[in-house]
């Protein structure tokens, strides 16, 4: 018997319960069990992950999930989480796994930055009356444009590097088929195509069903090289080399064999039932010059027609690494902060490694400017972007665009129970169980994602208008429109912003 005290208490109001057994059928964690001989639904609190599926599906509102306040005696140093972790490790001898992003109480710099607005000297612009442009092109820009003249007509001589066009500076970040269900992948792909933006395959390959969304697909190449072949490279609009992930910098991935279904095995191009292991490093990248070779290889293989992204986790010396990545030929750098999500990671890594995206973004943007190479690359910020305000602040710090994934999952039903690694997601997102995946209708999922991004677009336009800005590029790197609150002088300096009142 486990000595771990349950985290949640499932309370059932017997007066309301009609014994319809929806909860029994809905809960994949088997919290509820029906005993026919006694006509009784028994509740096992210790199995509850706090996802609230039963609560929401119960037709008579008979269920309430509450936090177990009596967990352990209150202790500032030894929290209930810590005590439970120790007990679990003592029982199993294993690493504690977790899903989604770092949930610890580290500072959020988004919440310590406020936006400027126009008053008197400069009119705010009403987005309902004036054009407000969000279009963004990602890719390497030349330092200068040269022109040619033929028969008195001036035209372009410079040949631009490949670019991808975004109608909104928000993209869906990498989540593989395997870590999430095909229905979830299709929801993202179809929403990206409706929104004129992009989603990312993660390291899951591209399912045949999703090839039709290729124009809005960023294909990832990670250390396991799963699902990469000519068709994949030809179909995706851009290719992303994944070096690291904000939730687990320096850690690879592991999709257990039981999740490698026939369809996943075909998509990832590995035998079904075998573990899909993405090593911590790429075994052909042990240094920056090796990265350059892989970038060149991908460009050669895609006929120099597709921008190549390189994604790194935000770590202590990100600025110097980013500079090296630009010089290695990447068209776009993705920086993933420590709040970024994951399907599975050791808690100890997720909760203790990396740095905030705000800081990494600020220093990388400044470093590339100091080296006069900022034009040679686009910067995408990722990892814990929660709202349009976070996105606007990211762009004011210097990002060209942002990636969202946790917010996208929430739009599709996720309640951040952080049990993605168990493969039992009650919302049909991070599971391959056909009973569960059916719960997400890709058309509805796509609609909810489209709604989310459209509402953020409206909010971004409203914010731009209040600042008197009417094109997103005039926000990019416009740090004067940010002010810090409650920041130390050093923090302000690192973020490159003034404190409120200055």
């Amino acid at each position: 018997m486990s000595s771990v005290i349950p985290e949640f208490i499932v309370d059932k109001n017997e007066d309301r319960c009609i014994k319809c057994k929806v909860c029994v059928r809905q809960c994949s964690e088997e919290v509820f069990k029906y005993f026919e001989e006694f006509d009784l639904i028994r509740i096992y609190n210790d199995k509850c992950v706090g996802c609230h599926r039963c609560e929401m599906m119960c037709p008579t509102d008979a269920l309430t999930i509450t936090k177990n306040n009596a967990l352990y005696k209150e202790n500032f140093h030894w929290s209930s989480y810590t005590i439970n972790s120790i007990k679990k490790q003592a029982e199993t001898g294993g690493m504690i796994l977790t899903g989604s992003g770092n949930d610890k109480a580290y500072v959020s710099y988004w919440d310590r930055m406020l936006l400027d607005a126009s008053q008197v000297t400069n009119p705010p612009i009403d987005p309902l009356r004036e054009p407000m442009e969000l279009r963004t092109y990602l890719g390497k820009k030349p330092d200068r444009i040269t022109l040619k003249e033929e028969n008195g007509e001036v035209s372009l001589e410079t040949k631009l590097s490949p670019q991808i066009k975004l109608e909104t500076p928000i993209m869906f970040s990498a989540m593989s088929y395997g870590s999430i269900s095909l229905n979830a992948c299709e929801s993202l792909a179809s929403a990206a195509s409706k929104l004129g933006t992009f989603y990312n395959t993660g390291e899951g390959g591209l399912h045949k069903k999703l090839y039709k969304y290729g124009k809005n697909t960023i294909g990832q190449i990670a250390s396991g090289r799963f699902g990469v072949d000519t068709d994949y490279l030809d179909t995706c609009a851009a290719i992303e080399i994944k070096i690291g992930q904000g939730a687990k910098p320096g850690i690879g991935g592991h999709l257990p064999g039981e999740k490698v279904t026939v369809e996943i095995s075909e998509t990832r191009m590995i035998p079904s039932g075998t573990d899909a292991i993405s090593p911590a490093p790429h075994h052909d990248i042990y240094s920056i010059e090796d990265l350059k070779q892989l970038i060149s290889l991908i460009k050669e293989a895609t006929n120099y027609e597709k921008p190549v992204f390189v994604k790194i986790a935000a770590v202590h010396n990100s600025a110097a690494i980013a500079s090296g990545i630009v010089r290695a030929g990447a068209d776009v750098i993705v920086i993933d902060g420590f709040r970024g999500g994951t399907g599975a990671a050791p808690s100890v890594i997720r909760d203790n490694t990396g740095i905030p995206i705000e800081v990494a973004l600020a220093v990388i943007d400044q470093r590339l400017r100091d080296e006069s190479i900022r034009n040679e690359v686009s910067i995408v910020a990722a990892g814990g972007i929660r709202s349009s305000a976070d996105a606007v602040k990211a762009m004011a710090l210097g990002a060209d665009a942002v990636y969202i994934a946790t917010a996208a999952l929430i739009a599709m039903g996720c309640t951040l129970c952080q049990k993605c690694y168990k493969g039992k997601c009650n919302w049909g997102l991070t599971t391959q169980d056909p009973v569960l995946t059916r719960r997400l209708n890709p058309e509805l999922g796509s609609q909810r994602l489209t709604n989310l991004v459209n509402s953020w677009n409206l909010e971004i336009k409203e914010i731009l208008g209040s600042m008197g800005i009417n094109a997103i590029e005039a926000l990019r790197g416009n740090r004067l429109r940010l002010r810090g609150v409650g920041l130390t002088e050093l923090e302000s300096k690192i973020l490159g912003i003034e404190h409120a009142g200055m």
């Binding site: 400069n122 040269t146 035209s155 400017r369 006069s372 800005i469 590029e473 005039a474 990019r476 740090r479």
Partner: protein
């Protein structure tokens, strides 16, 4: 001395410019009469003028106009100028000190030649670097103009008082621009007044750009240091960057600073569309948003340009061989009641008048 050097300059303004397209010179008193009509759009905290063709005795020398806060700043500046240039002649700028203006800096002008024989491009680049060097590295020294056969006259006061102070009636030029300023900060700082000058570029500017820091940080990648914290400085540098350093024409530079909307670019025929798309993507850091109208002066013409939403006024009038540009029509009518043509350019549409009579 700027009392609030960390704050971004904010001001509303009146602007005026004229060019005699045959190159005939007119006295500085003409433009003074025009800008004085717009007295109420300034608040006495900034006024200024630029004149072209005003130094016929030194037409091939760079004319440096300087503000010094101290004699020490002057000595250091002269040492630096001497390193790169031969000073042909220098003098204290003549002023009428019966005009009472606050915080007057020491005003000096130098006519200089580069020590080496250089191509026109590299000569201008060397001069540009020297100006950046003085403005950034010598405390209390500001180069306010640095072109050939032209100069900027500005300070804290109403434009008509500034004109009297500098005795502008003694100068005559074929191009004049003028500015009346209503700053809400940087009071009493002479460097904050317009026009702003670099090489032969001068800008008078009405408005406030909301993209300032994006533009500033973009320019700093290419050797520009924006130490005067004004929008006008940034706009001047952007023109220098796009036209002189990137060899773009003024109309194309205008399409970058006040770019057409993407929906309009999408509708253009292919060659033009690809060109404008590439310009907007590549020079994204140079896009100006927020309200502005500017008059740019340069050695052979003037150009008026308004922001793409047309949030600030700009009028262009023509009478025989003179083209006028102004934020208000009354200023033009004051000195030229009968105009052959008058129009208000659309937002983002440049109005260019050149010395050889070309009028776009």
């Amino acid at each position: 001395m700027n009392k609030f050097p960390r704050e971004k300059d904010i001001s509303g303004c009146s602007i005026f410019g004229l060019i005699n397209t045959d190159g005939e010179k007119v006295s500085g008193s003409v433009i003074t009469e025009a800008i004085s009509v717009l007295h109420d759009r300034a608040n006495g905290l900034g006024g200024g003028f630029s004149g072209y063709g005003i130094y016929p005795d030194y037409p091939d020398d760079y004319a440096f106009h300087l503000f010094f806060d101290s004699v020490k700043a002057k000595e250091e500046t002269e040492e630096l100028i001497n390193k790169h240039f031969l000073i042909e002649y220098d003098e204290k700028i003549r002023t009428d000190n019966s005009i009472n203006l606050p915080n007057k800096p020491l005003l000096w002008r130098y006519f200089v030649k580069n020590r080496n024989i250089l191509s026109k491009d590299s000569e201008r680049e060397e001069t540009f670097k020297a100006v950046m060097d003085i403005n950034n590295n010598i405390e209390g020294a500001y180069v306010i103009s640095s072109g050939k056969n032209m100069g900027v006259f500005k300070g804290v006061g109403y434009p008509e008082d500034i004109s009297k102070f500098y005795r502008l009636e003694d100068y005559s030029g074929y191009i004049w621009t003028a500015h009346g300023r209503f700053p809400t900060n940087t009071p009493g700082w002479w460097g904050g007044a317009h026009p702003f000058g670099l090489l032969d570029w001068t800008i008078v500017h009405n408005g406030e750009i909301s993209s300032y820091d994006t533009n500033r940080r973009y320019l700093e990648m290419y050797g520009y240091k924006c130490n005067l914290v004004t929008d006008t400085e940034v706009i001047t540098y952007l023109f220098d960057f796009l036209v002189r350093k990137n060899n773009l024409t003024l109309p194309l530079a205008s399409k970058i600073l006040a770019s057409p909307m993407w929906v309009d670019i999408d509708r253009m025929e292919e060659k033009k569309r690809e060109l404008l798309k590439a310009l907007r993507m590549t020079y994204a850091g140079a896009l100006l948003t927020g309200p502005f109208s500017v008059i740019l002066g340069f050695e052979n013409g003037i150009m008026g340009l308004g922001d793409r939403l047309k949030l600030r006024p700009l009028l262009v009038g023509k009478n025989e061989n003179t083209v006028y540009m102004s934020s208000e029509e009354c200023a033009v009518r004051k000195i030229c009641p009968d105009l052959d043509s008058v129009y208000r350019p659309k937002g983002g549409e440049p109005a260019i008048a050149l010395l050889d009579g070309k009028y776009v």
